[in-house]
Symmetry: C2
Subunit: 180 residues, 2 copies
């Protein structure tokens, strides 16, 4: 890697950290520049415009999350244990900022705003793939259970955003009453 690219990567790491800690809303060029220890002028030197910058930063954040998830990977689990397991995971202080950012991403994606929409789709795909790998079931079952797991975790994340923990517990209770 050349010197320039190295510097760019250095800035990008710091920007990713800043976005993760403060959200998309706090991601103005000047804010990001300050967090990275440079100027907005320099950011537009390394990136063509803000859209390109955000695309690369968010992609990096998403890659980081995947790495974290892969590291926290266990052996495959049956569905009824997987959901509580993932609930614990998204409550983890390391993971939680990613979930909060994810909610912001979805809000923008729902308006087809770019680059957020396409990045959100990518992340969605990765997560379903991740669920699929974790579920203990045959392939035909996985096909249905991975999306179902995704949906339930997303829903839980939303309830968690409005401090509905007790409702989450009740729902998990209700879920465990079901059998195949």
């Amino acid at each position: 890697m050349k010197k320039g690219e190295l510097r760019k990567q250095e800035l990008q790491d710091k920007m990713a950290k800043h976005i993760l800690e403060n959200g998309l809303q706090a991601g103005s060029l000047r804010n990001l520049a300050q967090a990275a220890g440079t100027s907005d002028r320099m950011l537009l030197h390394y990136y063509h415009d803000k859209e390109e910058l955000m695309k690369e930063v968010l992609t990096q954040i998403s890659d980081n999350l995947i790495t974290i998830l892969e590291q926290a990977r266990t052996v495959s689990i049956p569905f009824n244990q997987l959901v509580p397991h993932l609930y614990k995971l998204i409550k983890n202080p390391v993971v939680k900022p990613y979930i909060q950012l994810w909610l912001e991403l979805i809000a923008r994606a729902s308006k087809k705003e770019e680059p957020y929409h396409s990045i959100a789709k990518q992340i969605g795909d990765s997560f379903i793939h991740y669920c699929s790998e974790l579920i203990q079931a045959d392939d035909k079952e996985k096909e249905k259970l991975a999306p179902l797991t995704f949906i339930i975790i997303e829903g839980i994340a939303m309830l968690d955003a409005i401090d509905f923990e007790s409702n989450i517990e009740k729902a998990l209770d209700g879920l465990s009453d079901f059998k195949k």
Copy 2:
């Protein structure tokens, strides 16, 4: 109702419509004023500040949604039919803007931003109450199934935001495989 209050309500209706159609992001005082056919100056005459304005407008929107939902109410349905029923409902063009706004609300609520956080909690409560009324089950079951329904519908709304319809179908398929 006095003349002033009447005028305020008139403006508020138009602002609610605008927010519903264009989202929170498009809700600057000047945008709202234009949509209501007045000036930002006048909005701050009727409301103390933007926070108060948003609080009242969003509360009204939420009340409108509840009215719509109540009108679309059927007889009580067992859980496994309720989820597909609600999925159809949130796909309804009349309801869909509310869901999109809801996603935006959640994103802000997750940062404890006011007035969004408290309003989102209120709406969450109403929706769980609504689910509870619709579910065909005894009270003890409802206690668990209403939050579970809420979670699943929220999750579906998120997947829908990133055009994951086929995954939603698979998940619903998977869900119907479960039995008590």
